[in-house]
Amino acid sequence: MSDASEMTAELPVSPQDSPFVDVRHASRRFERRMSPVAAFLARLGLDYADEIVHAVDDVSLRIGKGSVLGLVGESGCGKSTLGRLIASLLPVSDGEVRIDGHRMASKAEPLSRRELLRTQMVFQNPMASLNPRQKIVDILTEGPIYHGLIKRRDKNEFAAALLLEVGLPPDILSRLPHQFSGGQRQRIGIARALSVSPDFLICDEPVAALDVSIQAQIINLLLDLKEKRALTILFISHDLGVVRHLCDQVAVMYLGRIVEMAPTEALFSNPVHPYTKALFEEIPRIRGGHREYRPIKGEIPSPLSPPPGCHFHPRCPRAIASCSLLAPPQSVVGDGHSVSCWLNAPADPTQRN
């Protein structure tokens, strides 16, 4: 592992020179300590150890101001954990997250509340993320009142304006979340995130739980808000079609690592990593008619015991000998297009940076 991380090249700088969000070699481990019995047995020389899950493993990425980065991957690949790290809902185990130059979650230089408020999150399931016993007006104004952004007596006006902005009628202020459909609830979730005027929005699968016709409405809303409020967005999703539509850049994640990252068009027209290729092959398409599915074999391995070397090699149709030995280095294959795969690694180690 140690050589692998040394070889990891610095990421290609995205079009903007000073990235708004800068994640540097961030890792997050979750540990499950041995039970006392297992610890005793381990001391007797038996095969017991703490279980460690590398949910996010040495991830670096940058998002330019005002752009949308899509983060795609299968369930369990660590994309939501990465989102939470960036939102500083979870501390990083290693590495750092900087937003607009400020280091997040650092004990040495703690951030002011005002700085923290600049990042807000929209969650997947709008039923579970809205308090069922709070009125809409309170859901929308609790944050800004607490942080002193608005006065309590202004809360009705403030909430009504927010609701209009996300396309809901302003006369629903005193209703409760259960009185709304899934799409309306997701609009309320977005309005709540916007209530403290953030400039960075992390959307964790915001449309996955919605019907297609409603999904289109929410995507349009996000597009509008991005323009109007000049938002930077991290869009976490497993739906490649939605990501292609909404995002400027896409990062593909597999078992805790980013395997490929590129501007959207470059990635979709020329996927390089075998995993990305396989993912694209398998998107069901409306046009193109009846087809034979040629799936990649196997399932995403347990993050408790990830395969050595490249995590994807047991399922990869083009795996070579070195794939199972060392984690592949990151190589640049185009403008802002980087990939972690031995097949694209420069032969000469001196060229790797």
């Binding site: 459909s181 995507i219 069901p284 409306i286 074999k297």
Partner: protein, 332 residues
């Protein structure tokens, strides 16, 4: 598929209602279709459109306060809606089987996979446990599960989501049914696993000549996988026909709207065509065509019940003003 063969399953005028305290919900209204051996019908609709209830009604699984109020379900010419519960039990899991959406809640968490296979086999024919195990092993190999013998001793929580769904599929096919109703079986799975399951189902349907109803909300899965398509809205089938023809030239404005809402063909970053509004409450459906409140082509006539019109060979649409090819070209 053979053209002039008797359909295995013939549904006509099927209606199911739920009598609730707050009123009567018409979940399924006047649904008709037929299905031949080796055919896959994609039943598509948004949540609450009645597609799952249609599946449950066919299998006789509607329980109070729901009730099938009219219509007939003919399986090999035998009427199912009037059968007694005992007679139905002999058919369910045997000649008709269902695969549900969430494999975690379908499998019994306190029984091993092997015991669950045995239950299903033993309910329908005499069979020793060891023989059931042999059959189960063969079935698990069929659905692509490695080391089937060890898996039979596992509990459901020891398997991944994709594995569990494969087990459910193997169990549903073990008694060689002629009709399989799959209720969103891949919705809870990742795209790579979904692709594996679709691949496997394509093969199994062909090999075993079963008729399958694939209930889903995902039009793009239907496009690559099914032979026929039925689009449901507010309890009615608003459009039906061969998949390629319907999708290349949708006749009902709702089908067209659904297709346009899926990002893919339009310019990235542009606004998606969206269907305005939300589905009407099933307690107070608009009169006539239920879609008219969201339809941009709606006129005064739409307040009447729309006629079922033939729009090409084997295709129907419930609409006064089905879209023409010219309109569809302009739509794109």
């Amino acid at each position: 598929m053979p053209e002039n063969e008797q359909p295995v399953l013939n549904i006509s005028g099927l209606s199911t209602v739920y009598n609730l305290k707050i009123g009567q919900v018409k979940s399924v209204t006047d649904v008709s279709f037929e299905l031949a051996r080796g055919e896959i019908l994609g039943l598509v609709g948004e949540s609450g459109s009645g597609k799952s209830v249609t599946g449950l009604s066919i299998a006789g699984l509607i329980t109070a306060p729901g009730r099938v109020v009219s219509g007939s379900v003919l399986l090999h010419g035998q009427e199912l809606t009037t059968l007694s519960e005992n007679a139905l039990r002999a058919i369910r899991g045997n000649d008709i089987s269902i695969i549900f959406q969430d494999p975690m809640t379908t499998l019994n968490p306190v029984l091993t996979i092997g015991q669950q296979f045995f239950e299903v086999i033993h309910a329908h024919r005499k069979c020793s446990y060891s023989q059931a195990k042999k059959e189960a092993e063969a079935a698990l190999i069929e659905v692509g599960i490695p080391a089937p013998r060890e898996r039979l001793g596992n509990y459901p929580h020891e398997l991944s989501g994709g594995m569990r769904q494969r087990v459910c599929i193997a169990i549903s096919l073990i008694n060689k049914p002629s009709v399989v109703i799959a209720d969103e079986p891949t919705t809870a799975l990742d795209v790579t696993i979904q692709s594996q399951i679709l691949h496997m189902m394509q093969r199994l349907v062909r090999e075993r000549d079963v008729a399958m109803i694939w209930v889903t909300h995902d039009l793009s899965v239907v496009a690559g996988f099914c032979d026929k398509l039925a689009v449901m809205y507010a309890g009615r089938i608003v459009e039906a026909g061969p998949v390629q023809q319907v999708l290349s030239n949708p006749a009902h404005p709702y089908t067209a709207g659904l297709m346009d809402s899926i990002p893919g063909d339009c310019l990235p970053g542009s606004r998606l065509e969206q269907i305005p509004g939300t589905q009407p409450s099933p307690l107070q459906l608009p009169s006539g065509c239920a879609f008219r409140t969201r339809c941009k082509y709606a006129r005064n006539e739409c307040a009447e019940k729309p006629p079922e019109v033939a729009v090409g060979s084997g295709r129907t649409a419930q609409c006064f003003f089905p879209l023409t090819e010219v309109q569809n070209v302009r739509r794109k």
